[in-house]
Structures are given as C-alpha cells and as structure tokens.
Symmetry: C3
Subunit: 360 residues, 3 copies
C-alpha cells in the first residue's frame, strides 16, 4: 500500500502530512512495526516524549507523528514520509487495521457441527467444526462461532459477535452485538452458591441469567457466573482480560477495563469507566464508584468513592499507599529509633529527678 | 405452582405458614426472585435484619420468613402469602429446586462421541457430542458427560457425577459419586515438577494419581494436578470455585470451601471445614488446621492453627491484621511524630545539660 | 524390574550401590513411591536431612541414597537394597521414567479430525479425535496432538511437541521442538490492547506473533497473548505452571520457572533463570534481571536487579520484607509506645520548664 493511500484513509482525523510538502515522497508500505525494530518499507508511530528520540534513528520508511513541527522537520530531514495527528496512537490503530484483520473462517455451517433444529440462525453465520449448539438458541447475523464452542439452551448471541475456539456459553446467557469472547472463556456458568445444611454444603440452584451488553470483550479462560436469582450483567463496551473471574450477581458498568486475573466475588457493583489493574480482587458486595482506578493487586471492599485512585490491600488512596509502602521497608529502622528514644527519655527522666532533688 | 403446594413440599422443615391463618389466600407462584426486584406471582425470602424492611415494600406475592411473629403479621397485613422457617435461606434453596433444574441432555450416547471399546459404562449414562473417552475408563450410573469433554485412560467417574463442557479428566484420576466438574476444568494434569540437571530443567515424571471423593465440586477452568508419586486428594463435599489451582500432592479435607482464584502450591495439607477467600495462596507444604478461615488474598505458609481466622500476607490473626492495616495508612504520620520526638528529646538533652551546668 | 536392572540403568551417574557389598540382595521392584508410604517391592529416595530418619522406618524394599556411609550402613542393616548418588532426586527422576511414561495415543490421524489440505505434516504425527487444524500450519515430526485441540492458521508446531486436550494455538504462533502445552492453554491469543477514542474503547488490531522456543512447557489453562506489533517470546527451557497469564510483547528468557497464577502485564522483560513464585504479578514494562527470585504474591514493577531475591508488594529485598512484615504485626504496639513517649516528653518539657524557672 502506498503511503499516500494511508494518508488518504487517515485523512478525516489527520491534521497534516509530508505529502503536502513533498508529494513526490510516497514510499510503498508493507507492514506496521514497532518504531524500535521497524525496517525499510514499514510504518510506525511516535507517542509521548520517551519515543521522540526514535525519529532520529528509526529505520522505518514512514511515521505517524504528533502535531509537532520540530518532529515533522526532523522526519523530513531524514527523508521519512510522515503524517501528523493529535492522537498518533489512534492513527496507528487505524493503520494496523488497513494491513491486518484477525482470521475469520469463511461463512457457512461445518458439517461436523451439531446444531439443534430449534436453533434460529441469522444471515451470514459462520459455525465451525465440532461446535455444539443446544436447543432454543438464537444466533444473530454475521456471528462467527469458532471450532469446539459449546452453546447451552436458551441463550442468544448478538449480531457480529465472535466466539473463539473452545469457549462455553451456558444456559440463559444473553450476549449482545459486537462482542468478542476469547478462547476457553466460560460464560453464564453456575454461581458458587452453597448453604451449610445438616453439616453438609448443599448447592443453591443457580436459576438466574448472565447478560453481556454490546461490544463487551471477554478474555481467554475468563469465567462469568450466573446467580441463583436475578442476573449477572456486564454493560456495553466493557473489556475483560484473560483469567478474570466475575462472581454471581455482579453488575459491571459500561466502558470498564478489567486487567488479567482480576476477581470479583458475589454481588459486586462496579460503576462506569472503572479501570482495575491485574490481580485486583473485590470482596462480596463491594461498591466501586465511577471512574475509579485500582492499582494491580489491590484488595477492594466496602465502598470505593467515585473517581478515587486506590492501591494496596485493603485498598487506600494511592498517595497514602505509596508513602506507607515506602516507609514499610524502613520499619526495622523506625523500631530501632523508637527503642533509642525510650532509653533516652528514661535517662532524661532519671537525670531530671536527680536535678530536682538537688534543686529542692 | 400454587403457594399451598410449596408449603406442602417445604412442610417437613417449615415451622408455620399463612395457610393456617388464611387458607383462602393461595396465590399462583411462577418464579423465585430477589426480594428487591420480585413482582406479582413470585416468591422470595427474608434473611437477617438488613432485609426485614423489604416485608413492607416488596412486590412479591409470597415470602419465606424467619420464625418472627412481627414479620408474619406485617406480611399478613399486606396480603402476602408467607411461610416461616428457622432457616429461610434453606427454604429458598429448596423452593428454587421446585422451579428450576440445570439443563441436562437426554440420556444416551451421541453418535459423534468417540468411546474406546474397553470403556465400561453404567446404566442411564449420557455422553454428549464430540466427547472422547480413552481406554480403561469406568463410568458410573446416571453420569452425564457434556459436549467436548475428554477423559484420559485409567480413570473412573462415580455415579451421578456431571462433567460440563470442555473439561478434561487426565489419566489415573478417580472421581467419586455426585461430583460436579464445571466447564474447562483440568483434573489430574501433570504436576509442575522439574529438576535442574546439568543446567536444564528436566521433567520429573508425574506418575501419581488424583482422587476426588464424593460430592466434590470443581469450578470452571480450575486445575488440579497429579503428583510424581502418591496422590492429590480432595475429600468429600469440598467445593472449589472457578480458576482455582491445586498443586501436586495436596490433601484437601472434607467440607472445605475454596473461593475463586485460590492457589495451593505443592504438598499443601488442608484439614476439614476450612474456608479460603478469593485469591488466597498457600506456599509449599503449608499445613492448614481444621475450621481455619482465611480472608481474601491471604498468603499462608508454615502451620495455620485449627480454628484460626487469618488475613494478610504473610497471614496473621485477623484482629492483628485489621489493626495493623489501619495503622499502615498512618505510617507517614507516625514517621513525622517520631522525627518530632527525636528533635524534642535532643532539645531536652541540651536544656538539661545547660541546667546541670548551672546547678553544679 | 529387578533392583540390579535399576542399578545398571542408573549406573552412569551412581557413585555406589549395595549390589557391590550385597550382590545376592536383589529385590523385584514394581513401583516408585513416597518414602513415607512405600511398601514391600517399591523403591524411593532420601534427600536432605529431614528425610534421613525414614531410612530407619520405611517399608520400601530399595532406596536411592545420597553418598553417605552412615545411611548406607543403616540401609544395609535393615536389609534394604540401596544405591547412592550425589543427587538422589535425579536418580529418583530417572527411575520414575523406567516405570512410567505419560499416556500417548498411537500415531495416526483420527478420522474425526478436521485438517485443512494445506497443512504440512511431519513423520509419525498423532492427531487425535475432533482436532481442528486450519490452513497454512506446519506440524513437525513425532508431534502428538490430543483431542479437541484447535490450531489456527499460519502456525508451526516443532518436532516432538505435545499438545494436550482442548488447548488452542492462535494464528501466527511458532512453537519450538520438545514443548509441552497442557490442557486448555490458549497461546497466541489477542493481546489486551484498546484505545479510548471518542469515549469508547476501540480494539487495537493485534497483528504480532507469539514464539515459544524449544522445550518450553505451558501449564493448564495458561494464556499467552500476541501483541499488536512485534512479538511475545518465551525462550528455551522455560516452564510455566497452570493459570499463568503472559501479556502482549513480553520477553521471557531461557530456563525460567513461573509458578501457578503468575501474571505478567504487557511488555515485561524477564531475563534468564528467573524464578517467580505463585501469584506473582509484574506491572507493564517491568524489567526482571537474570537469576531473580520473587516470593509468592510479590508485586514487581520498574527494574529488579539481577540476582536479587524479592518479596512483598511492591517487592523489596526479602530480608527487608521479612523484617518489616514481622514488625507490621506489632504496629499497634509501636503506635502505643509512640503515644506514651509523646506524653513522657511533654511531661519532661513541663518539668524542665518548672526547674528552669526555679533555678533562674
């Protein structure tokens, strides 16, 4: 693809480009690469101060730059084609999509798929080898179901949703449009509900449902449980990484990001635009406010105020955590200081007593 | 189902019901719901002080109440059908099972299942599509094996056990009666045993076996490893949540509950009735006493005394942890106080010296 | 197998054996067992001081001993056959392999496997039931692919590599020779890359690749992501336990060991011979030096110096962590001491002022 084609396709959001100043400089671009390792014929991007130095050294043929005249001049001087954008990473994201689309099998139903006659299929559906679709399932238009997926009864899969290999969609799950469920994820499985009755743990039937709204993404081997009654719900545009656990009755708001290995126990409520770092855990019934950010490994419980940035277990404001954790490593020294002070004060008390006797 | 039918079926454990005082009030019940969101024609339950206020506002038609005359009178005044029990949650559990049973495919062997001729099948067995059962496997009566399950050689699956979709049972695993293995779980896989030999990690053959006693439940994508020699064992009625890891040679006692993302390293011994919160970890050879409760994210090592309730990493008694973690956030203030004291003591020492000179 | 046969096969590395002193004592050995529970006809091993006492009590017929004359004499006195080695655990490992090999299906392609005609298969390949192999895949010699595995396009599987049941190999993944991928692992899946654009999280196409070098082992349900550009790489002889997460663009060096539930965020660099304990997490772009050891649950970020042994979150040198965590539990007492000191100093200040007035 010619660099000028990329410029044209990015044109709606691009602010400036080398084509205007040097239209004859229009390299053939064959791949998108990291700026550090890119070679002749590739395009990359510069984002943030740390990467600006690469403009002087990168071996790529073209760069997506921020709106920065100095960087543009540098790139021109080196004979690099460039385009500048207010958000170069967004330009990079779009450019990637010009060169790459994830593998999608050709539409059609593979003869080894086992599909109940009651299943209602939309238009242009792909169902790959060894998929099993149980009764009373509704599959939307342009859905793509990869090999070995199992879909239980009374579920719905929204338009354009992709289910990657070996994931399992359990009964009474509703998945919205434009979702992506990655390999091995288990959605709508039985919540972990038991009651101690006459000395034994007895299962509480898990009759509720799990709802994923539109554009939800679920990572590999992530698990989302359904509840005994009511629903577990992930709202629109929320993204879950790999190996995340979402317990029964959780309500996760829209546009949240949960990093890998996060665990939400039962009945956790997460508002919108929340970002949870890797391995964060939230106890039963935790309420996480809008725009909260929790650092990796944080332990959440009770109520986390909207907009707060927390770290540690139990979680505290990140400034407090950073200060306290720095002091934590100096605790042995603090303890020594404390002992010295005790001795000094005891000495002072004795000396003062002696003087007092002398003076009186 | 008529409310009177529910009362009759709960009759053995119920202590009282509105039918005795108002037998003509017998609504048709169509579903079990949360008390907050229930509507006309549904039944729910009241458990504990926090939920009692809902008796005044709930829109359900019937309630399972504790043995509390005030609540009974309130419910009667509002025209609600009710039944009272010493453990309303148990009544709720039973009532759920009158209305809901998890999906179970019809018995029989699906033609796409690949079953070795040496496999011995019990009566009334269900084997769904694309299941693979290797040689020398014994499958008990009424076992239900969902799609895409793989069972390796020399294993046994006990009566009435359910294996959900895409789980894998590895060689030499013995699963007892009435177990439930959820989707994607891997049981009896090779323990993580390597030996550094001539600068390389060499695998220690994992020739041992994994034993799940009766009524064990294993969550989605949970992994339980077999050992090099000896056995990994989960005793009866123990319940493991999703994404739990059980290392080689672990011995988990009866009636334990391990929440999601718990990890037990190798040779961990857990006694009976232990409850481990989410993301708890136990180091190699940890010994956890009976009735121990460990809070979420606790790090266990060494010996945890029977009956203790622990939190934190490394785990300490929960009272200690709660006090210390509260002070943790005040460490910067403590450090300031300590510096002030040092200065004050130094000043005192100087002043005292001055006075001492003066007096002498 | 006769004990003398074991001695002969171990002969290259063994330093001494009872056969030289007692050649007539040559029991038939039928199994390898733990020393604590072994019975007549079994062999076990003694490693380290803690296990030496078992020489006096074990019921096994033969022992692999360290080069220790006392233990040899004890074993001879009890009529036990023995062989001594500088590394008895290595002898045990070898002996295990004389008695046990993990199940391997007979070579050949199962008729239910779905294999694209473009796939290039090596010699002596095993492809089990319900496997799916997409276009443009290269499978080496002696590769064994267990049931229900899915292999996406443009991947390569090296010679002698084993893929256990239900694992998924995503597009553009290169797996080296002699690797073992355990059940349910997902390799080369899309990295967790999104960009906030006009208030929505938009996916960054993940066009990069994932490379596993030779003799890499990947545990059950572990996930390894591919990047948007560039590569995710696990170098030779590195072993990952179950439920590990490796983010996009991570570079893990050779001969590392990552225990269960470890999580590496994006662009983490791990040098060689690193050992990470269970549930360790590393933040984005963490750099972990060679030979680092991180204790269970450690939280790594920034740069971890080569050779360091760290614990805690944020991770600190283990001595510091052990001291500080011991003091952590005494924080309430420290706080009380601090308050007492404040009062004592205040009293001293008053007393000194009084004396000062008196003296002046």
């Amino acid at each position: 693809m010619k660099f000028s084609d990329i410029v044209q396709r990015l044109g709606l959001t691009a602010s400036d480009s080398s084509l205007k100043t040097a239209p004859e400089h229009d390299p053939e671009i064959t791949a998108v690469t990291p700026v550090q390792t890119g070679t002749d014929g590739t395009i990359s991007y510069i984002e943030g101060g740390k990467f600006e130095a690469y403009v002087a050294t990168t071996q790529v043929s073209a760069l997506i730059l921020p709106a920065d005249a100095d960087l543009q001049a540098q790139a021109s001087d080196r004979g690099l084609a460039w385009i500048s954008m207010t958000d170069p990473r967004w330009g990079f994201t779009q450019t990637l999509s010009f060169f790459y689309q994830p593998y999608q099998p050709a539409p059609g139903i593979h003869p080894t798929a086992v599909i109940d006659p009651s299943v209602r299929l939309g238009k242009n559906v792909t169902i790959a080898a060894h998929v099993v679709v149980h009764p009373d399932v509704r599959v939307g238009d342009d859905v793509c179901i990869h090999p070995n997926v199992v879909i239980y009864p009374q579920t719905a899969i929204g338009d354009r949703t992709v289910l990657y290999a070996n994931c399992v969609i359990h009964e009474q799950t509703q998945i919205g449009a434009d979702c992506v469920i990655h390999s091995g994820a288990a959605i709508g499985s039985e919540g972990f509900g038991f009651i101690l009755h006459e000395g034994r743990w007895e299962k509480i039937p898990q009759s509720g449902c799990t709802i994923l709204e539109s554009a939800v993404e679920v990572g590999c081997n992530t698990t989302i449980d359904r509840p005994s009654v009511g629903e577990t719900r992930i709202q629109a545009n929320t993204k879950l990484d790999n190996l995340v656990h979402i317990g029964h009755n959780c309500q996760v708001g829209p546009s949240c990001v949960l990093a890998a290995q996060v665990g939400l126990a039962g009945q956790v409520e997460v508002a919108d635009h929340v970002i949870l770092g890797g391995q964060v855990g939230a106890a039963n019934k935790t309420q996480v406010g809008a725009n909260v950010q929790a650092g990796a490994k944080a332990g959440l419980h009770g109520t986390i105020a909207p907009g707060s940035v927390v770290m540690g277990n139990p979680a505290s404001p990140y400034r407090t955590f950073l200060k306290s954790s720095a002091i934590y490593n100096r605790l042995p020294q603090m303890q020594r200081t404390l002992k010295e002070l005790q001795q000094q004060v005891a000495t002072l008390q004795q000396q003062l007593e002696a003087i007092d006797t002398q003076v009186s």
